[in-house]
């Protein structure tokens, strides 16, 4: 890691090199390592050390952006020069007003030394526990254990300087039950995310996935149709991802493609649903400011089923005469603002009770390869994976072959039966975002096919 002082030296150098009217510099330091395993042994084991410097220069209303990972003074000068050359070739952006003025972002402690210094031996030890337990149960272990330390800093010529160091340990595994001729018969999944790698409980993760793999063995085909579903937190994560991508942003609203368009203040989901973004929540994987250095505001999207708002970056906010909520991505940004820290409020029912309430339904561990089919309906298709079961009279009775579903996630949150008391933290591969999701019971979930 470079540390705040060294990063400030870099941002000061860039700002000094630039003669633009306004200049912004983003520094992202990444030290990450990932131990990957399959067939119950480590087959890929990697580490990476990188620092990106991204420079945005503004001449009048002309903007240029360039990036490099060459941190030498010559490299920084070259990057500033490239950004300047681009700006000079740019057309004026009539909407551009200014880079953000300084605001104070809260400091959120999210850096754990033991995660940053986690060794290959320590990761191999954790993976070794999973693989050993898998072999003992005659299942095959696969997965990955990553430890990442990052530093993100944003500075601009108006006086903004924001710095945040953070760590994340993330482990996931698929355990597969196989026959003597190596034919897969069923699989189970488990994952765990925390700022502190010491919190990874290899035994518990292995047990969860192995138990499910054993129970998922020899699945049977089941008629597609509409069923009540128990969606584990792993599956609900996907709903939050798509709401964030398709609806919870000012750009989607301004382009008439958000399902919340003209619905602010109206009831759009079950009254028990509350969803918000909070980049400062200390127990998640926080980032207290955005890539313009604007402090992240807590933004409520859905409150007791009623649409309340969306996230903004500076351009979308200025378009509506509002302040940015601190949800910009790095410039130049075609996607618009993005909610990186989405939380769904828990309910008051334990998962065990939720299961008992289902007379006949389907247990879904997680979704796979989901894609939007119709954005305004939040209509999504995808597959179930790693543990799909029939529920009868409040009990899981038999494993099922995986289904394809084609379902409106918006409809799903209007057909809610229960929200779990328990929630789970996820580190999403959607741009380093984190999510917190409960489990759900949803009626009328539409399965449109099965796999072989």
């Amino acid at each position: 890691m470079l540390g705040e002082n060294k990063i400030r030296e870099i941002t000061d150098q860039v700002l000094a090199f630039s003669k633009a009217d306004q200049t912004e510099v983003i520094v992202r330091v990444t030290e990450s390592a990932l131990t990957r395993f399959a067939n119950s042994y480590i087959h890929q084991n990697v580490a990476e050390n990188d620092t990106e410097v991204r420079v945005r220069v503004v001449y009048g209303k002309k903007i240029g952006v360039a990036s490099s990972n060459d941190l030498s003074p010559e490299g920084l000068k070259r990057t500033v020069g490239t950004a300047r050359a681009i700006a000079q070739l740019q057309r004026e952006d009539p909407e551009f007003q200014s880079l953000p003025a300084p605001q104070t972002a809260p400091r959120v402690e999210a850096f754990v030394d033991q995660t940053a210094s986690c060794t290959p031996e320590q990761r191999a030890h954790v993976v070794g526990v999973l693989c050993k337990k898998a072999k003992a149960q005659n299942v095959v272990a696969a997965g990955a254990f990553s430890t990442t330390a990052t530093e993100i800093a944003v500075a601009n010529s108006l006086g903004v300087f924001a710095y945040h160091p953070g760590t994340c340990a993330d482990i996931s595994t698929v355990m597969t039950k196989v026959t003597s001729v190596m034919t897969e018969t069923g699989s189970g999944y488990a994952s765990f995310t925390h700022q502190d790698a010491r919190q990874v409980n290899a035994e518990a993760i292995a047990n969860e996935a192995i138990d499910k793999a054993m129970r998922a063995s020899h699945p049977v085909a089941f008629e597609p149709g509409e069923y009540t579903v128990f969606l584990e937190e792993y599956a609900v994560l996907d709903l939050l991802n798509f709401f964030g991508m398709l609806g919870f942003t000012a750009q989607a609203m301004q382009e008439d493609r958000s399902f919340l368009k003209n619905k602010i203040g109206e009831k759009v989901m079950d009254e028990r649903v509350t969803i918000w973004d909070d980049g400062c929540a200390p127990h998640a994987i926080p980032l207290p400011f955005d890539f313009e250095g604007v402090p992240k505001q807590k933004v409520t999207f859905i409150e007791n089923g009623i649409a309340r708002g969306v996230v903004y970056d500076t351009p979308t906010a200025q378009r509506e005469g509002k302040p940015s909520t601190g949800h910009s991505l790095p410039a130049p940004n075609s996607m618009g603002p993005f909610p990186m820290h989405v939380f769904m409020a828990p309910g008051d029912t334990p998962k065990s009770e939720m299961l008992k309430s289902i007379e006949r339904g389907i247990w879904v561990t997680r979704f796979w390869y989901t894609r939007p089919v119709h954005p305004m309906k939040v209509l999504v298709t995808g597959m179930t994976r790693d543990g799909t079961f029939l529920i009868e009279n409040g009990q899981v009775t038999q494993p099922l072959k995986n289904f394809r579903f084609t379902m409106s996630y918006l409809a799903a949150l209007n057909q809610l039966r229960a929200i779990s008391r328990e929630t789970k933290l996820f580190y999403s591969d959607w741009g380093g975002a984190s999510r917190v999701a409960p489990a759900l019971v949803v009626d009328g979930f539409r399965f449109t096919g099965t796999t072989q």
Binding site: L34, A38, I42, N45, N49, V140, E255
Partner: protein, 484 residues
């Protein structure tokens, strides 16, 4: 850079590596995007660094750094070796690469017009002309146009003696018109030449000029608006469909390209990208498709986005058969997996996403070879069917069997003619059943090597650029339409 590669390999050997390779990679990317008459983004990124791969105690280690300094090289090699030693604590067998591979050569993408020397104003003007042409059509809410260029220089060296220099250049572009109707809640898009941003090839700026973005912009915009009021694609349990070549390219990518990756077959991707239904006992005997289905993996086809001189293990680019007259006959392999399965030499498909990732098995250009039909003749030969064009959504299970695709546009075909525009067309199926129901493939006149610049796989995630040659093809008995 050769002093750096030599030092890395020397340090690796001294520290006990049975095998080591190093790739020093510098990648420049340029992206220009316009939206609704405004230049939304001009971006130039450069990234450079090196990645070292070692085998120690029979296990793999990989480490990478952006700091191209001699001391850092030694640190990173030591890190890779420490990682390999940790891997060895949890290993099943020793890693073997088969026969040594030694190549000392260089390769450059043939380029007529270097895209990085074309004046930026020319690029902006071209995109703004296309953007304006789309916005002239009433009902278009958002018009976008973009170009992207990549130049990657890489030096590969191994302890076996390989030393390979390559420069790969890519050029890509695309336009999109989005039309919305808040009354009906309908959102429709049309893209050209392909969706998901752009079509891309390993060529120079001449590729951009050939696409004629501005000339196609009015049609694209008009189709997006027309789709708002088009009929919903009906649902059928068993319909005849004709896929245009770009949609067919993605069908090939998802349902053929991925399941033939031998690392998936052997379980390496079980926890993430998934495995494959094309298990080893099927090789040489499984009927994957009908007699008219012939698919090759060809890293040598000019312009393909998966075209190169050598893969990232230093193995020469090759053309190999995958499906011959409908029978599954070949995998994509690495040196280690080919050796493990007794397939002989690697067919050269190990590709890494930049300097910071290790190579994994990736598609090159997975091409459905042309058939015999003219497009017009195929439509005329179809009494009752649906033409589906340009991908809008895609999803497939982790064994690559159950898929569902949606396309931006559909045309009802009745009596051999396109009769009615259809919106929200989707189709679904099981991979071998679908390809066995292919009864016609169009000829080379309609054959295009499409580029897919966004193929995700691996942990940490890697994005590969792959190519897919395809001409329109007809499929019988396909389930169509599951939207409501």
């Amino acid at each position: 850079m050769k002093d750096i590669t030599a030092r890395a390999l020397n340090v690796a050997q001294v520290r006990g590596a049975a095998y080591a390779d190093i790739r020093v990679v510098a990648r420049d990317t340029q992206r220009v995007a316009v939206k609704n008459g405004k230049v939304e983004a001009i971006q130039q990124d450069e990234t450079q660094g090196f990645g070292v791969r070692v085998i120690v105690n029979g296990a793999w280690g990989f480490a990478a750094s952006s700091r191209l300094e001699m001391r850092e090289v030694e640190t990173v090699v030591a890190q890779a070796i420490a990682i390999a030693k940790a891997s060895a604590h949890v290993k099943a067998r020793d890693a073997h690469l088969g026969e040594p591979v030694v190549n000392k050569e260089s390769y450059e993408t043939p380029v007529k017009i270097n895209p990085f020397t074309v004046p930026m104003n020319d690029k902006i003007d071209l995109l703004l002309r296309a953007d304006e042409a789309m916005r002239r059509v009433s009902g278009v809410k958002v018009a976008r146009a973009e170009m992207a260029f990549v130049r990657e220089n890489k030096l590969f060296a191994s302890t076996e003696g390989s030393l390979i220099n390559q420069e790969i250049v890519e050029s890509g572009c695309g336009i999109v018109a989005l039309a919305t109707d808040l009354q009906t809640g309908e959102v429709q898009v049309r893209s050209y030449p392909n969706s998901v941003g752009r079509h891309q090839q390993t060529r120079g700026y001449e590729f951009i000029l050939e696409q004629k973005l501005a000339e196609n912009a009015p049609r694209v915009a008009e189709e997006a608006v027309a789709l708002l009021t088009a009929e919903q694609c009906p649902s059928y349990d068993a319909a005849t469909i004709i896929l245009d070549s770009s949609q067919l390219a993605l069908q090939i990518h998802e349902s053929c390209g991925h399941p033939i990756e031998l690392d998936r077959v052997l379980g390496s991707e079980a926890a993430y990208a998934g495995t494959s239904f094309l298990t080893p006992e099927k090789l040489g005997r499984f009927r994957y498709g009908s007699e008219v289905v012939n698919i090759v993996a060809d890293a040598t086809v000019p312009g393909g986005l998966g075209t190169f001189g050598f893969d990232d293990e230093g193995v020469p680019a090759q053309k190999t058969e995958i499906i011959r007259n409908g029978i599954f006959v070949g995998y994509l392999t690495s040196r280690e997996s080919a050796h493990q399965l007794g397939l002989g030499k690697s067919n050269g498909t190990m590709r890494a996403d930049g300097w910071a990732r290790p190579p994994i098995i990736r598609m090159t250009n997975i091409n459905l070879l042309p058939g015999t039909w003219d497009v017009d003749a195929l439509i005329a030969d179809t009494d009752d069917g649906i033409w589906m064009e340009t991908n809008r959504s895609w999803s497939i299970d982790d064994k690559r069997l159950n898929f569902q695709f949606g396309t931006e546009l559909g045309w009802e075909i009745k009596g051999g003619k396109k009769t009615r525009l259809l919106k929200n067309a989707t189709y679904t199926g099981i991979t071998p059943q679908f390809w066995q129901a292919c009864d016609a493939v169009c000829n080379e006149k309609a054959w295009i090597v499409w580029g897919t610049p966004n193929c995700g796989k691996g942990q940490p995630s890697q994005v590969a650029h792959t190519g897919h040659g395809a001409a329109p093809a007809r499929f019988r008995g396909v389930r169509v339409g599951v939207i409501r």
